[in-house]
């Protein structure tokens, strides 16, 4: 598991109020998922990894692992 994914999983779990989150979890299938939950997660992710996501791309990510990949990519391109 990538470093980003390790830290992202508990954030997603907190925001969606479910404990069973893995890299393969699909956002839309999480119990408490909604567009508001997505924005709450965004508010945590951006300062945590010091990135700024394009909202279109963010909303299009389907799984937790995919989002971790997007974050990692943004981090490496900003270095």
């Amino acid at each position: 598991m990538s470093d980003v994914l390790t830290d992202l999983v508990p954030l997603v779990a907190e925001v969606s109020r479910t404990s069973e989150v893995t890299g393969e979890s699909r956002f839309e299938q999480l119990a408490e998922w909604s567009s508001m939950a997505a924005l709450r997660l965004l508010a945590q992710v951006e300062p945590r990894w010091n990135v700024r996501l394009d909202l279109r791309r963010y909303l299009a990510t389907e799984t937790v692992a995919e989002l971790a990949g997007v974050i990692a990519e943004l981090r490496s391109s900003s270095r």
Binding site: S35, M36, L39, R40, A43, P47, L55, L59
Partner: protein, 544 residues
């Protein structure tokens, strides 16, 4: 007591709730939150069957954004039209918030993109003026509506990092505030709620060496001048003096010999604070937690109303562990930051200050004096020599703020904690079926002013809905003397019985003891004699 806090916003404010919840928790406020559907502020406030009305909040936070005032596609060459739209919206807001209990508005920041839409500097100046007129109109609302409050949020945002609005969130979800703005608002709103809940700090206990002054007074002397770092310590003294003038009690807790500090307070030309500014000085070599505990007892103020500011990590940890109720302000780092550290968390924020606040230090000092003089004679003898005069009169408009403040500040002698809002208290003063009495006390040590209030519902049986008395004066017979005034009035009005509400809290044992000692519902025939012999009761009936 759970505080019911509602949020009604002109934009999607879901993101405010989590930081608000945690800020309230940190402030020690147990709260229940309610979020209204967005963009329906006026409807929610005014419709009798709205979700907001059903929630029946203690506090309604109204959140506003610039888009709620600026018409969509506003024309920068027609600022007159913009002004008209803005004025109309304020009028509709004013009509909605009037008489809805405690409502909190705030000044509104103008987003950069809106400001930059005007290209001429002259035009921007006009828009700026228009926008300030809007914010000024908001700031004027409390003058006309006593239960409306306005946070000067626009001014506070100057110190926040980043833009007020995240345009991605604004366009996608109509969220007008960035996460940082939401946090800043939550912090301010929580401090306000703490004041509403009557949990504002009342006492600032502050260290001396390297805190109020630079250096160690007993060793090398002190630095207090117009140059850094002395001037940073002088500024802290000025801030403390400003707090004292607004009713905060100052106490000095310094490990020194008393003579050295006395001389400094009396003689050093650079000192802003002088001996009479302190309600008490604990200048000795005892552990500071012991001094604080004793001070709380002498002043009859709970330790949870204490703020302790010290530069020494050792002292702070000692107090934090021994007295976890005390709020500890760590004066770490550069002394230039000390003033801000003391004020940043808004521990002392209150809804309003009154004339009594200016002289509170003197009143409490006189009270400590009484404490000491009591030690020299028998209590009965002492009380007879006290010349206690209790004046009970119908509250005037002038007394209302003080009575509301007392009902919020008082934890010990209060029959029902948080029973009445300001608007409800006003009703007691105005309704013919109700009575609001103000209690004033004086004795040979001085005039205490208004120290208590009684909220009464009249009828065949009179019911005391609340009775509040400042902790400065109870246990001298004031409470029974004031009750005598209610009994006398009830008998004159033809009532046959006097009852009194009571709700126990962790802290109101003195009120419980009083309630029990009287034995409600008290039959009014034969006329009960409650007033102790040493007290004089003056009854004033304003409108008979």
């Amino acid at each position: 007591m759970t505080l019911k806090v509602a949020v009604a916003a002109t934009f999607t404010a879901d993101g405010v709730l989590p930081p608000l919840r945690s800020a309230l928790e940190q402030a020690g406020i147990e709260a229940e939150l309610h979020l209204c559907p967005f963009g329906q502020v006026e409807t929610e406030l005014t419709a009798p069957d709205s979700g907001l009305a059903r929630f029946a909040p203690d506090v309604t936070l109204v959140l506003l954004h610039d888009g709620a005032f600026l018409p969509q596609g506003w024309d920068p060459t027609r600022l007159d039209d913009v002004e008209q739209a803005v004025t109309a919206r304020i009028a509709s807001l004013e009509a909605a918030v009037a008489g809805r209990g405690t409502v909190v508005l705030h000044t509104v920041p103008l987003s950069r993109v809106e400001q930059r839409t005007v290209v001429s500097y002259r035009g921007r100046a006009l828009l700026g003026r228009l926008w300030r007129t809007l914010n000024q109109a908001l700031l004027e609302l409390p003058e006309r509506h006593p239960s409306v409050y306005v946070l000067d949020f626009e001014a506070l945002l100057v110190d926040e990092e980043g833009p007020v609005r995240d345009d991605r969130l604004y366009r996608y979800a109509a969220m007008a505030w960035s996460a940082a703005t939401e946090r800043a608002y939550a912090r301010e709103a929580a401090a306000f709620c703490r004041a509403v809940a009557g949990r504002s700090a009342k006492v600032l206990v502050v260290d001396g060496d390297n805190t109020l002054w630079d250096g160690v007074v007993g060793d090398e002397g002190v630095g207090l001048g117009s140059l850094y770092p002395g001037n940073a310590h002088v500024d802290l003294q000025r801030r403390a003096l400003a707090l004292r003038r607004q009713g905060v009690l100052l106490a000095l807790a310094s490990k020194n010999s008393a003579e050295v500090v006395d001389a400094l307070l009396a003689e050093h030309p650079g000192m802003v604070l002088r001996a009479p500014d302190f309600v008490a000085r604990a200048v000795n070599w005892r552990p500071k937690d012991e001094n604080l505990r004793e001070l709380a007892q002498e002043l009859n103020v709970g330790l949870d109303s204490f703020v302790f500011a010290d530069d020494s990590r050792f002292e702070r940890e000692l107090v934090r562990q021994a007295l976890p109720q005390v709020r500890v302000v760590p004066l770490d780092g550069d002394p230039a930051g000390f003033s801000d550290l003391v004020l940043a968390d808004d521990h002392f924020a209150v809804l309003d200050t009154t004339e009594t606040d200016r002289s509170r230090t003197d009143l409490y000092r006189a009270r400590r004096e009484r404490h000491r003089s009591a030690a020299f004679s028998s209590p009965e003898e002492y009380l007879h020599g006290l010349g206690l005069v209790v004046r009970v009169s119908e509250a005037t408009t002038y007394d209302l703020p003080r009575l509301v403040q007392l009902s919020l500040r008082t934890n010990q002698f209060v029959l029902v904690r948080g029973a009445h809002s300001e608007a409800e208290t006003r009703e007691y003063a105005e309704s013919p079926e109700r009575l609001l009495l103000a209690i004033e006390v004086s004795d040979r040590f001085g005039d205490e002013g208004v120290v208590g209030g009684i909220w009464v519902s009249c009828g065949q049986t009179w019911t005391i809905d609340n009775f509040v008395l400042s902790c400065r004066v109870f246990s001298r017979g004031v409470e029974h003397t004031a009750l005598q005034a209610v009994v006398n009035r009830a008998i004159t009005a033809g009532a046959t019985r006097l009852d009194a509400a009571f709700v126990a809290t962790e802290r109101n044992q003195p009120a419980a003891a009083f309630h029990e000692s009287v034995g409600f519902g008290l039959p009014l025939s034969p006329p009960p004699e409650l007033k102790p012999a040493w007290a004089t009761l003056i009854e004033e009936t304003a409108d008979v």
